[in-house]
Subunit: 147 residues, 2 copies
């Protein structure tokens, strides 16, 4: 007798697994960073965006768009980063409402210090489990979700 083939996983299963997997792996990476004495990943992400930007400077609204964060979360995250001395807030020269945020040398140093730990964490909790080609596959499929 013929074996019944299992039904193909529907999109909803892929959705559920996407949420579970990315959440779990993120938690593990954050745990490793913290164990190494570093601040949360969100801090790293802001510093990285700034380090790549012209003059190491960005407007908060730009950070908001690049990191896909809510406006008030950006505002407070920048507060914390400024309080810790990793960025500095300047009055925006071209927009009276605006703020300009610049990476400080301390921020740049933190970025460089965190990188090995971050890289090792991603390797241990993510890359290690992938098979050849998986990274490209993921990158390509997920790219359709964030245009």
């Amino acid at each position: 007798m013929r074996q019944t083939t299992p039904p193909p996983p529907a999109a909803i299963d892929a959705w559920a697994r996407l949420q579970r997997a990315s959440g779990a792996v993120l938690a593990r990476v954050e745990t490793r960073l913290k164990a190494d004495g570093f601040p949360p990943l969100g801090w790293y992400d802001v510093l990285l965006e700034l380090s790549r930007a012209e003059d190491k400077t960005l407007r908060p609204v730009e950070i908001e768009k690049r990191m896909l964060l809510a406006q008030y979360n950006v505002s407070r995250l920048l507060d914390r980063l400024a309080g810790a001395g990793y960025i500095e807030k300047l009055k925006s020269p071209e927009d009276g409402r605006g703020v300009s945020v610049r990476l400080t040398s301390e921020g740049d140093a933190l970025l460089k210090a965190m990188w090995p730990s971050y890289q090792a964490a991603v390797e241990a909790e993510f890359t290690k489990y992938l098979e050849p080609g998986d990274a490209e596959t993921l990158w390509s499929v997920l790219g359709r979700l964030v245009p």
Copy 2:
């Protein structure tokens, strides 16, 4: 002259995109659920696990494992669900420390009421952007990350 091929995206790029994409899509789905007047997805997930369980009943520690949540988050999530009447907490018959959590009929009703909204949200914010085979591909690759 030969065109230089772009470097293949490294695992770290796949990691970054995984976090961005899953976070962004999750936020959009949650926004739709809320717009329809429903509680957060976490509530749905607990109710769903209970509905699938023997006697519609689970121990908190089981929910913790299935949902990959921290223990204190489960404890408080169950508090809220019990407060809203969607589950009831019973003393575990076989374990004096333990609690047993059972889905109430109100909880079952909420589950059924949320499903169409949830399904539509996932369709609109996730499935819609996928191409044929993507769901299976994602499911398979992500499966390696949560053994």
